[in-house]
């Protein structure tokens, strides 16, 4: 079914070959074939232009300054400093923290999304939980850190309750180190997962379930052949978002772990805003460049993995 018969609206050419598979816009009028591609990408210009000015430009400024020293002379010293032991250690810790919380957030969040999706789509429960998830997904910083300190810190509600009523003395030192960060990060990863994954669950039609059972399939067959192949791409995409979200979060970590810069965003903060060790700003920008490289690598792995699983699941 082609739409050459329809007149083109402003800026949107009546491109032919609409029934072609993605990426192979061939077949169709050769007369307009040459111009087709070059006009189609005009539609992406507003977005690209906007992103170029407000995202790529600031990023480029930061990355360029990573290659200059304090007097604006070009240097590789900042980037070379990225190879130091403590920098590599903090990158490793950051990646570990992000991957772990992305996984736990994705699994628990996916579970919660399933629970919501199987309820009444117009009901109060759904409204309340999605609104709560919206608020909690962006909840962070000093307040979130303090919420956990007030719950399971040295004098937290739960600690005191367990100590006085049940006699269990909680070991609370772990809250101010990596395990504590993992727990607290999961707090905002789960709601984020719910919000981005819920539309995928909503897209599962009851007809497909009925069709599977009519054809004699079991629950396992349904999940294996219908639901999982459909849900895997959005699930992986959401996990990637969770990873990046945890990777760059720092306000919560700064409040919980005030000593030492154990993850990369904290090191960037020290480099940029320390009033004690001055002149490290460009090193901070080199660290930011390092973070972009890490996320680019993770994205590449993600797209590779997506293609592989798509093939396996087919």
């Amino acid at each position: 079914m082609s739409d050459e018969a329809v007149t083109a609206d402003a800026g949107r050419p009546a491109a032919g070959g609409a029934t072609g598979t993605p990426g192979t816009d061939t077949g169709g009028r050769p007369v307009r074939g040459g111009r087709r591609l070059s006009l189609a990408w005009l539609g992406s210009v507003p977005f690209l232009a906007y992103v170029a000015v407000f995202l790529l430009l600031p990023t480029a400024i930061v990355c360029l300054q990573a290659f200059t020293d304090a007097h604006n002379r070009p240097t590789l010293a900042n980037v070379r400093a990225l190879g130091e032991d403590y920098v590599i250690a903090s990158f490793t810790r950051s990646i570990l923290l992000s991957a772990t919380t992305a996984l736990t957030g994705a699994l628990l969040g996916g579970l919660l999304a399933y629970v919501i999706a199987t309820g009444n789509p117009k009901g109060m429960l759904r409204r309340l939980t999605t609104a709560a998830c919206g608020v909690l997904a962006q909840f962070g910083g000093v307040t979130l850190a303090f919420a956990f300190i007030a719950t399971i810190g040295g004098e937290g509600l739960m600690t005191v309750f367990l100590r006085d009523a049940v006699g269990i003395n909680l070991e609370t030192g772990w809250l101010f180190d990596m395990p504590g960060l993992i727990l607290v990060y999961t707090y905002f990863q789960i709601p984020l997962m719910v919000l981005v994954f819920l539309p995928a669950l909503d897209g599962i039609r009851p007809q497909w379930r009925e069709a599977t059972s009519t054809l004699g399939g079991t629950t396992w067959d349904y999940w294996r052949h219908v639901a999982v192949p459909l849900l895997t791409p959005p699930f992986l995409g959401a996990m990637l978002l969770l990873f990046a979200n945890a990777f760059s979060a720092y306000a919560t970590a700064a409040a919980l772990v005030s000593q030492g810069s154990i993850i990369v965003p904290l090191q960037i903060r020290t480099a940029l805003t320390s009033e004690v060790v001055l002149g490290q700003e460009n090193f901070g920008k080199a660290l930011a460049l390092g973070m972009i490289v890490v996320v680019a690598v993770v994205m590449t792995l993600y797209s590779w993995f997506q293609r592989r699983t798509a093939r396996w699941l087919r």
């Binding site: 070059s38 189609a40 300190i149 180190d177 005030s258 154990i262 020290t270 805003t273 320390s274 004690v276």
Partner: protein, 378 residues
């Protein structure tokens, strides 16, 4: 990948066009500020009130500007809340207080990044290290009470001048921990999981001085901070050290009942915890002052200078005293009887000779911390 490449090309082209437009944008930032007219221009280069035509002329010019931008002045820091309110009430000028949790470096970053906009900070309150490193951003100005400031506490042309200070102290909740009589007490088991430092010494000035004070109390000297780092290492190993950022909330909640901090900041906790006490060890009286500076490119130059006059007037200095900080004109004011006697009496008792870190000693301390702190405390 043709479409991709074309998309990238489009983006770069657009970006380049925008850059070109940016470079040729009307460079009339100065005309955007209504303040630079007549009296404003004179104020921007004035190095004292007399150059503007006297204090009244300065007040008139400041009122014409109508606004003052301050930065990193939270209300509970050395009673800045009352100072800002007092200034607003006295002169009717709006005060825009930005980035309350900012550090001194944040203030300098804001000056550089907001240069030319109407939101750039007019005046700065900086730790000494940052003040000394950024003199090229300041405008020289000498307040009317310039002579009262000791020579060692001001820069000769007026680029920076110290404003208030205090001594490094150990604040503690006397209802949760036993009374502290020496720094070494903190290693005892009664203080398990209770001792906190206000920040990271490689990040914050207050924390650096905390470690230095511990060093002095444990046999170190102003040139040797290693004893302090060792002390905190011991504290961490015995489980007494809590690595969380101490805030008013954690103090009230009981998570950090013992905090190393400036005495005037520690005194503020008394509002939330009536049993809060402040202890300054007699063998380690480490003082530290902050410094004022006027932004060379201040969007409201007259208001900035008026603010400085206000801070260094008797009224301003006494308000700082009320906040537990020692104002720089304190000696002169005590002699002339203008000091607020009740507030002065409320300061924590300090015996022993105060010492101050010189810039070189501070640099040596920072270098040592940069390489050794994370290892000791992590």
């Amino acid at each position: 990948m043709t479409t991709f490449l074309r998309g990238v090309r489009a983006g770069i082209a657009i970006g380049a066009m925008v850059l070109v437009a940016a470079c040729s944008a009307p460079s009339s930032n100065s005309s955007g500020n209504s303040s630079s007219s007549g009296g404003g221009k004179a104020a921007a280069s004035a190095t004292s009130a007399t150059e503007v035509g006297g204090l009244d002329a300065l007040i008139a010019a400041a009122k014409k500007e109508g606004k003052l931008n301050v930065i990193a002045l939270p209300p509970d820091w050395a009673n800045y809340g009352a100072l800002i309110d007092g200034f607003k009430a006295k002169y009717g000028i709006t005060v825009d207080s930005a980035n309350p949790n900012g550090s001194s470096q944040d203030e300098v970053n804001a000056v550089k990044q907001q240069k030319g906009t109407d939101r750039a900070p007019d005046v700065l309150d900086l730790g000494m290290a940052v003040a000394l490193a950024n003199k090229d951003l300041f405008a020289p100005y000498k307040v009317s009470t310039w002579a009262d400031i000791p020579d060692s506490q001001k820069e000769s042309t007026g680029l920076w001048f110290q404003d208030y200070g205090g001594y490094m102290s150990i604040g503690y909740d006397s209802s949760k921990v036993p009374a502290i009589t020496a720094v070494a007490d903190l290693l005892k088991p009664e203080y398990k999981n209770k001792v906190a430092l206000n920040g990271d010494p490689t990040q914050a000035n207050a924390a650096l001085n905390g470690v230095m004070m511990a060093s002095l109390a444990n046999g170190g000297s102003l040139g040797d901070i290693s004893k302090g780092v060792d002390f905190f290492k011991q504290l961490k190993q015995s489980g007494n050290f809590v690595p969380v950022q101490a805030t008013t909330a954690t103090v009230k909640n009981g998570t950090t009942p013992v905090v190393f901090d400036w005495d005037y900041l520690s005194a503020a906790h008394g509002k939330d915890v009536p049993t809060w006490k402040v202890f300054v060890p007699s063998n380690a009286v480490l003082g530290g002052y902050y410094a004022q500076a006027v932004n060379k490119d201040a969007p409201h130059p007259a208001a900035a200078r008026l603010w400085e006059e206000y801070l260094y007037s008797n009224e301003g200095q006494n308000l700082w005293l009320k906040g537990g900080a020692r104002p720089v004109r304190m000696d002169v004011m005590t002699k002339s009887g203008k000091i607020d006697a009740t507030a002065a009496a409320a300061l924590p008792p300090v015996t022993g000779t105060p010492v101050f870190l010189s810039p070189d000693q501070a640099t040596a301390a920072k270098a040592y911390l940069a390489t050794n702190w994370a290892k000791a405390i992590g």
